[in-house]
Symmetry: C2
Subunit: 161 residues, 2 copies
């Protein structure tokens, strides 16, 4: 499965992802304004399976869960960045959104077709043919992400026990 890359710069904070003035609305409305201050076309044109590539400190700035939730709602398959705000990173995985730390995001251009394998720690740029390394996510954690996040994962585990 590969997705098209949308590329953003450093310090995309949670207010850019989930703008404060829409926080009183539900996630559908918040998602409609996700990243609009830097890329007005994003929410309308992003397709399910697309990839968001960010710069340093992606998701910094607040513990707002709606930030990763908005990306997930829009069908984003993964966020790739050299570093993440800690709470954003935590929330992303807990909500079932893949977040990959990769120092070489500069090798990805907007529109490139990107594949990724979080457990192996590799990102393949199908457009350029390049393979990039990313920090692997342990299989047990990816099991949680693939179940849709922490709560669905715990529910599944409790049903099985």
């Amino acid at each position: 499965m590969s997705g098209r890359a949308w590329v953003f710069g450093d310090n995309m904070d949670t207010d850019v992802l989930a703008p404060g003035r829409y926080m009183k609305f539900g996630i559908e409305e918040i998602a409609r304004h996700c990243l609009e201050s830097v890329e007005p076309r994003f929410a309308a044109e992003v397709r399910s399976g697309d990839i968001v590539v960010g710069g340093r400190n992606f998701g910094m700035g607040s513990s707002r869960e709606q930030a990763p939730q908005a990306l997930k709602h829009l069908g984003v398959a993964a966020v790739i960045a050299p570093s993440f705000g800690g709470i954003f990173y935590r929330n992303a995985l807990n909500l079932g959104l893949v977040a990959l730390e990769c120092a070489d995001v500069g090798r990805i251009r907007a529109g490139d077709s990107i594949d990724f394998n979080p457990v192996a720690g590799v990102i393949d740029n199908r457009t350029t043919g390049e393979r990039l390394k990313c920090e692997p996510i342990p299989a047990h954690l990816m099991a949680m992400v693939n179940d849709g996040g922490l709560l669905p994962h715990l529910e599944k585990r409790l049903r099985q026990s």
Copy 2:
């Protein structure tokens, strides 16, 4: 409660925190070698309640849980850094170790007496009188950290339900 600061540079990876060649031993032995390649005195001289201050990408490099576990075992009260490896950050909170993101760690010197309030998002340097901002950790997450981490927290919650 305030602790003495131990100050480290950028990119302290999980292998510096929990050296690979001791991974076959238990956490007590691993902790004895924590950070020894950059500060040989650390493990022997760190006191319960002390603070570890790091640079960028603290805890990068692997999903090794023994990295935050070693710091916790040595009694470290908190790690403060401008950015963390995502899995390290996640593991730290899950294991009951406070991790604070603070852009201004350069204002803290080795030996300074440091207080912190994760929910308020403030760090007080009692030695210099300066107050630094850090990313707040939501109260519900600090409840988990204060219970000793994710597993003790879930056990407590399940006992109560």
